[in-house]
Symmetry: C2
Subunit: 452 residues, 2 copies
């Protein structure tokens, strides 16, 4: 079944590419109409620039806004480069307020002013409230489409009120929010409690008090952790005075969790999670230049270390042959410890408090592993070059480097995190610098002492 579904996905992409290539744009537009905005976004991300542009011109104007919010930052920049003010205004229509706030961040200033002036008083106030919080906080994430009720109302009254709302009720409402006269948040009334409760009961009797509201200034990763920990579908957001500002729904949290995972993964290669697979060549070159430049600097550092030992290298060529093994084993061992530590920090499970235990454990793993592999490599090197001293040298260098690798793998991420540098981004470069330098220094330094 899995294979069938993948085939289905795959065939849709192929079919669309064929249609686009054949120029049968009407057929492509028909196919597009049957897709959800997220599917359109997914297809746009999968298409090379020329076909992407054609497809984008076919997307229905009323969907533009939603699709724009679903593609990654870079693809959005690509799609909106030539958008006119009228197109921006059309895209901004039909959007929920939280989505509109996200889109406003991407608009040219002139367009923003027009969009805001097109809103009625109530919506403008709400939008400004969302925009007043940074994008990556609960306040920036929230939507203001809450349905609120008073504690003194009966469930029957609430039911009648909801029937009056009818189709105007926000469609993914799973709970109502209970507030007092001053809009202070009191609790939640889940719909399942409303429908299964006694109609004569008051909201105060039926409501649930164990839903902790989210402060508007809470960071999005803490919001995500809260949702995960308590299996929340939607949660209230409050200001410093405890007044209900809006709600956050799980679909936005899912996006955050996906992005966090991609950030860790792409960060290790020096890429942003927003990187477009089909970014223009020049953009890609510019973006990757920095990473290659940093790496060149660390590689030169390692080369400089090697350069200090040119005398011994010119006399014992076997050292040049074997030295990459010392550096490489250290890099691999260290990156395993590093990955554990980076994940631990991201999940909030590793901090100064239990770092000592991780460090000691990784040092123990590193020492024992280094003894095993030092022996294996010493035997191979000894047989290969028929040289016992060389065998002992490389074994010792491996032991030293694996121990250093364990120590740096466990401590570097914590140090980086403490001084405010993202360990997912800088960790692996720094680690390989340490393992390269220590590896070459130990191996060639020992060789100078014992082989010359």
């Amino acid at each position: 079944m899995n294979a069938q579904i993948e085939k289905h996905e795959d065939s849709r992409l192929t079919r669309l590419q064929e249609i686009l290539a054949s120029g049968a744009l009407r057929a492509a537009a028909r196919l597009l109409k049957s897709l959800a905005p997220a599917e359109v976004a997914h297809l746009l991300e999968s298409l090379p620039p020329t076909q992407r542009e054609i497809l984008w011109s076919l997307v229905d104007e009323t969907c533009d806004g939603e699709v724009l919010l679903l593609v990654t930052d870079e693809v959005r920049t690509d799609l909106t480069r030539d958008m006119s003010t009228a197109e921006w205004l059309a895209a901004a229509e039909n959007l929920d307020l939280d989505d509109l706030a996200d889109l406003v961040h991407e608009m040219p200033d002139t367009v923003t002013r027009e969009v805001i002036s097109a809103l009625d008083e109530q919506h403008r106030k709400r939008l400004e409230s969302v925009l007043s919080y940074p994008e990556d906080t609960a306040g920036g994430l929230m939507n203001t489409d809450t349905v609120t009720v008073r504690p003194e109302a009966t469930l029957d009254v609430v039911s009648r009120y909801l029937r009056l709302l009818g189709e105007q009720m926000p469609s993914d409402t799973d709970k109502l929010f209970v507030v007092n006269r001053d809009d202070k948040y009191l609790g939640v009334l889940p719909l399942w409690k409303l429908v299964s409760g006694n109609p004569e009961d008051s909201v105060a009797e039926a409501m649930s008090l164990n839903m902790q509201p989210l402060p508007a200034s809470m960071h999005e990763s803490d919001v995500a952790r809260r949702f995960e920990t308590h299996d929340i579908l939607s949660a209230p957001v409050i200001d410093q005075q405890g007044r209900l500002l809006g709600r956050i729904t799980i679909d936005d949290v899912v996006d955050i969790i996906r992005e966090e995972g991609e950030h860790q993964f792409m960060g290790q290669a020096g890429l942003s999670e927003a990187e477009d697979m089909f970014a223009p060549v020049l953009t890609s070159i510019r973006r990757r230049a920095l990473w290659l430049g940093i790496n060149l600097f660390t590689a030169l550092l390692a080369s400089w270390v090697i350069g200090q030992f040119d005398t011994v290298l010119s006399q014992v060529v076997a050292l040049a042959v074997l030295m990459p093994i010392v550096a490489s084993m250290g890099g691999i061992a260290g990156s395993q410890t590093l990955a554990l530590a980076i994940r631990g920090i991201a999940l909030g499970q590793l901090s100064g408090k239990n770092a000592r235990h991780l460090l000691l454990k990784e040092m123990a793993v590193g020492s024992l592993n280094s003894l095993i592999w030092a022996a294996v490599i010493a035997v191979i090197a000894g047989i290969w070059f028929n040289n016992l001293t060389l065998a002992l040298l490389i074994g010792t260098a491996i032991t030293i480097n694996l121990l250093f690798a364990a120590i740096s793998g466990a401590t570097l991420p914590l140090i980086l995190d403490r001084i405010g540098i993202d360990p997912a981004l800088a960790g692996s470069v720094l680690l390989t610098t340490v393992t390269d330098v220590v590896g070459f220094l130990a191996f060639l330094g020992l060789a100078t002492l014992f082989l010359l």
Copy 2:
């Protein structure tokens, strides 16, 4: 606020560690009672072995099952090592059926039989239905606690039925499932439609038809993608005859998405997403040995290549000093392309169809980047060793290696995926093997031709 909350989390961990260290176990047990199972799981994962064991013994028996399901596989194995049959039975009580099915996979066979025989007929049948599907499919993920209604009932009748159910209604119900007499799935009735609809309307009139049911055999990553694409909170699972088997809720999907992200990230370091930060030293050594062994093999391959050029190396020591730069720049450039391709495959956005475009683009980026960096490195090497030939040699070698890096970074993951090997796990090892071998071969090979 963010800092405050982190401090709060942090201080809870510290406080607990202090309490555990001071031996005030009652106070620790009290603290535990106030936490959600996911928070207990989180704390257990954050604690070193000894403290973890003490804490686990304090967890209330009725929560054991839930906590066990929330910790990673390895921590679970650690915690359940010495569990008695009675403890297993206690842990299995109070669990939802989908959770029970997950836990059954972890139990010793003797315990499984006892757990199943303790269930009543209806629950046993349901459990067996869930267990009959692989763990990583919709059928293995689903819970059977669906509330079903018939199309001909009126909304008023449904409301009265739900009031009868009262507190027995599954608490995270956001929709009811509409089935016919033969249990065939027909559509869904979201609670918000029920509460906002006209009580006299029939379910058939009010229900929504655009919720595609999930086949029980659908793979969990496709389930996750479907939830993300359509912002679903819960979805029906059907068998091949279209009969409703159960439902999947978003909280289980969130776990899948989190695990997919961790799999990609940890896989690059040859670790499983289930790796326990505080695994026993011997377990860690055994597990990492394979990865270090594979790496040693590839490092030896690179050394063997270098060994073929010992004549030129012994005459021009600058080659030994500079050669790590050629290999390293190739590795870095290739791993950027690799990360893009692996993510593209994981998201279903990269396949044979659009691979050609990615390959061409990455080759263009690689060629242009290689020219820039070849020039920079040639100048540095030329000045350092005051040798024009050497400068030209390293420049050419860098150009060749970056082009190979782009090609392997773009094609390796697709080839691995095609032959059924996980690119997130094997990709980076294979890529660095290519860039090391090609780098040394190009640099030292050209040196042999032009410097001897």
